[in-house]
C-alpha cells in the first residue's frame, strides 16, 4: 500500500539540494564507476577532510547513492516497539500518531534547560541530506537517505555544562497513541544514551525526514536519532526529552538483556551477539549476505573515539 505523506517542511528536500547537485552526483557516480572504486573513494573523501582511508565514506554519503534501499522497505520494515513488536506493526499502528504540536524537554547539566518546540531546531533551509548505512543488531541492514541536522548543532545551542559527560534521549511514552506500550516488553519509556563526545561527532544526526519527505510516523517522527556507526537500536525515535548527565544512562535494551545489548552498541563484526554472528549482514533487497564492516564502514571517522577502550567488553 502506498501512503502519500504530505510534506510538512515548507520546502521539500529535493529543492533544498539544488537539482544540479543531484545531477552532478549522478554523473559523479557514473564517472566513479568507470574510473574505479578507489578513485571514487578518494573523490568522496576529498569532500570531507576527515574522511580519508577506511571505506572512504564521506559525511554526506554521496557514494552510497547507488545502493539506496527502496523507500517501501525503509518505511514499512521498522523496529519501533511502541507501535508493536512485529516489523510490519509500526506502519499501520502509527498511522494516526500525532506529531504536532511536539515539544522537547532539555534538562540536566545544561546552561539552557527549557522546553523547546521541534521548530526551534529545525530550520528547513538548513536541513542536510545524509545517506547512511543502517545496520540493525538483528543482522539486517539498509542504506537510507535521511534529512536532518547534526546533533552537535543542537548540543551547542543548549550548551551542556562542563560536568556533562553523557546525553540521554527519551522516547514519547503515550499508551493511548502507542499500543505497544501496553505490554511490558521493554522498560518504558524507551531510553537511549550516548557519550557526549559521540553525540558531538559530525556523523551523529538528528533526523526529521527521509527520502525527501517528512519523516513518517513509523520511522520515529517528528525527530529521531541516527548514529550510523552503531546498531539501529541506539537511534531513539519520537524524542521528547534530552537530558545531560555525568552518569552513563541506563538504556532500554541494555536493561532488558545486558548480555546481549551493551551501552556502546558499535557495529562490530568481531563481537557476536550471543544468539547470532555479527560478522555478516543481509542488506534488505539482497539475497546474499555481505560482510559487516567495522563501525559499519565509518571507522576512519569514529574509531578514534574509542582508542584504549576494550570493544569486546564494551560492546
Amino acid at each position: 500500500m502506498l501512503i502519500r505523506i504530505t510534506p510538512e517542511h515548507p520546502i521539500p528536500s529535493s529543492e533544498i539540494t539544488p537539482e544540479g547537485v543531484y545531477q552532478d552526483r549522478r554523473s559523479f557516480l557514473k564517472d566513479a564507476g568507470i574510473l574505479g572504486v578507489g578513485l571514487a573513494a578518494t573523490l568522496a573523501a576529498g569532500k570531507q577532510a576527515g574522511a580519508q582511508g577506511g571505506q572512504g565514506t564521506s559525511i554526506g554519503g554521496a557514494e552510497l547513492k547507488g545502493e539506496l534501499t527502496p523507500e517501501e522497505d525503509v518505511t514499512s520494515y521498522n523496529n519501533f516497539y511502541e507501535f508493536g513488536t512485529g516489523k510490519d506493526d509500526p506502519k499501520p499502528n502509527a498511522k494516526n500518531f500525532k506529531t504536532k504540536p511536539w515539544t522537547i524537554k532539555v534538562e540536566g547539566m545544561v546552561a539552557k534547560p527549557a522546553t523547546y518546540s521541534v521548530e526551534d531546531f529545525v530550520s528547513p533551509s538548513k536541513l542536510e541530506d545524509r545517506i547512511y548505512r543502517h545496520r540493525c543488531v538483528e543482522a539486517w541492514s539498509m542504506v537510507v537517505p535521511w534529512q536532518g541536522f547534526p546533533m552537535a548543532d543542537f548540543i551547542k545551542k543548549v550548551q551542556p555544562t562542563a560536568s556533562a559527560k553523557y546525553v540521554e534521549f527519551t522516547t514519547l511514552n503515550d499508551p493511548k497513541q502507542m499500543p505497544g506500550l501496553r505490554f511490558p516488553v521493554l522498560e518504558w519509556p524507551y531510553v537511549e544514551g550516548l557519550r557526549l563526545d559521540e553525540a558531538m561527532h559530525p556523523l551523529a544526526f538528528f533526523v526529521t525526514g527521509v527520502y525527501g519527505k517528512t519523516l513518517p510516523n513509523q520511522n520515529g517522527a517528528p525527530l529521531r536519532i541516527v548514529m550510523p556507526w552503531k546498531y539501529g537500536f541506539k537511534g531513539g525515535k519520537s524524542i521528547v526529552k534530552v537530558r545531560f548527565t555525568d552518569k552513563e544512562p541506563r538504556t532500554a535494551w541494555n536493561i532488558a538483556a545486558p548480555d546481549e545489548y551493551g551501552f556502546y552498541a558499535n557495529v562490530n563484526p568481531e563481537v557476536d551477539h550471543p544468539r547470532w554472528t555479527q560478522a555478516r549482514e543481509r542488506r534488505i533487497g539482497e539475497l546474499r549476505r555481505r560482510e559487516t564492516l567495522m563501525f559499519n564502514g565509518y571507522g576512519s571517522q569514529v574509531a578514534s573515539l574509542y582508542s584504549g577502550l576494550d570493544l569486546k567488553k564494551n560492546y
Binding site: Y81, V185, R288
Partner: protein
C-alpha cells in the same frame, strides 16, 4: 499401564490391521463410525497449503519482485516454516487427548500424519536456515549448534524426530514390537518440549507467541496426566493409561 499398552499401541499406528487385539476391541472397532475416505487425503493436502504458499511467495519475491514475505523473505520463510512445524507437532500430540475426550477412535490416523507433516516442515525450516540464512557455511552451522543454546535445542528436537519418522510405518511396529515402538515414540514429547523452548529462546523479547505454544503443550500434557492418574476402582484408568 502394561495392560493398557497393547490396544493403545495398536491404535497408535493408525489402525494397523492384523495385530492381535481383544474381541471386545474388534467389535467396538467394527461398529465405530469412520470418516469418509476422502477426508484423510484432503487433510494432507490442506496441511501442505502453507508450504506451497511460502514456496510460491519466496519464488515470486525473489524473481518477480513481489513483497509477499516482506522485506526479509528468507527470515520470514524460516520463521513461517518453523512455526508450522511446531503447530503440527502440537497437533500430533493433541490427537490422543482428543480421542480420550471425544471417543472418536478413527482420529488416531492423524497422529502419524501430523507427526510426519511436522517433520516435513522442520526439514524445510532447517533447509532454509542452512541453505539460505547461513548460506551453507558449515563453520557457521557448527558454531551455532555448539555455542547457541536455542539452535542446539532446535537441532536436537529435529534430530529426535528422525527415528520417529523412520519408524512410522506399519512394518516398523511389527519389527520393533508394540512396547519397544511405543517407548521409542515417546521421544516426541522431548522433541516438542525442545522445539517450544527453541522458539521461546529465539525470539528477541516479545515472548507472547512462544508462550501460547508452551501453554498449549502444557495443556496437552495436563490432559494426558489427567487420564493416566491412578483412580481407585476405576477400570478405565488402566485401560486408557498408555499410548499417545
Amino acid at each position: 499401564m502394561e495392560a493398557g499398552l497393547q490396544p493403545a499401541g495398536v491404535e497408535g499406528v493408525g489402525g494397523v490391521q492384523g495385530v492381535a487385539r481383544s474381541r471386545v476391541e474388534r467389535v467396538r472397532r467394527a461398529k465405530a463410525p469412520k470418516a469418509p475416505r476422502w477426508v484423510h487425503p484432503l487433510v494432507i493436502v490442506a496441511a501442505l497449503v502453507p508450504f506451497v504458499w511460502v514456496a510460491f511467495a519466496m519464488w515470486s519475491d525473489v524473481f518477480e519482485g513481489t513483497r509477499y514475505l516482506g522485506s526479509e523473505p528468507i527470515k520470514e520463510s524460516e520463521h513461517f516454516t518453523g512455526k508450522w512445524a511446531l503447530r503440527f507437532l502440537l497437533g500430533c500430540l493433541a490427537v490422543t487427548p482428543l480421542i480420550r475426550i471425544t471417543k472418536i477412535g478413527w482420529l488416531i490416523t492423524y497422529r502419524r500424519t501430523f507427526g510426519l507433516i511436522a517433520f516435513f516442515y522442520a526439514c524445510v525450516h532447517l533447509t532454509i536456515y542452512f541453505g539460505l540464512d547461513i548460506e551453507l557455511m558449515w563453520s557457521n552451522l557448527v558454531e551455532d549448534v555448539l555455542d547457541r543454546t536455542y539452535i542446539t535445542l532446535g537441532m536436537t528436537a529435529l534430530l529426535l524426530m528422525v527415528p520417529l519418522a523412520l519408524t512410522s510405518t506399519k512394518a516398523s511396529i511389527r519389527w520393533l514390537g508394540n512396547r519397544k515402538w511405543t517407548a521409542v515414540h515417546r521421544l516426541v514429547y522431548v522433541s516438542a518440549v525442545l522445539g517450544v523452548i527453541h522458539f521461546y529462546m529465539a525470539v528477541k523479547k516479545d515472548v507472547r507467541e512462544p508462550l501460547v505454544f508452551a501453554a498449549i503443550l502444557a495443556t496437552l500434557f495436563a490432559i494426558r496426566w489427567w487420564y493416566r492418574r491412578p483412580v481407585a476402582g476405576n477400570k478405565r484408568a488402566g485401560d486408557l493409561a498408555s499410548g499417545g
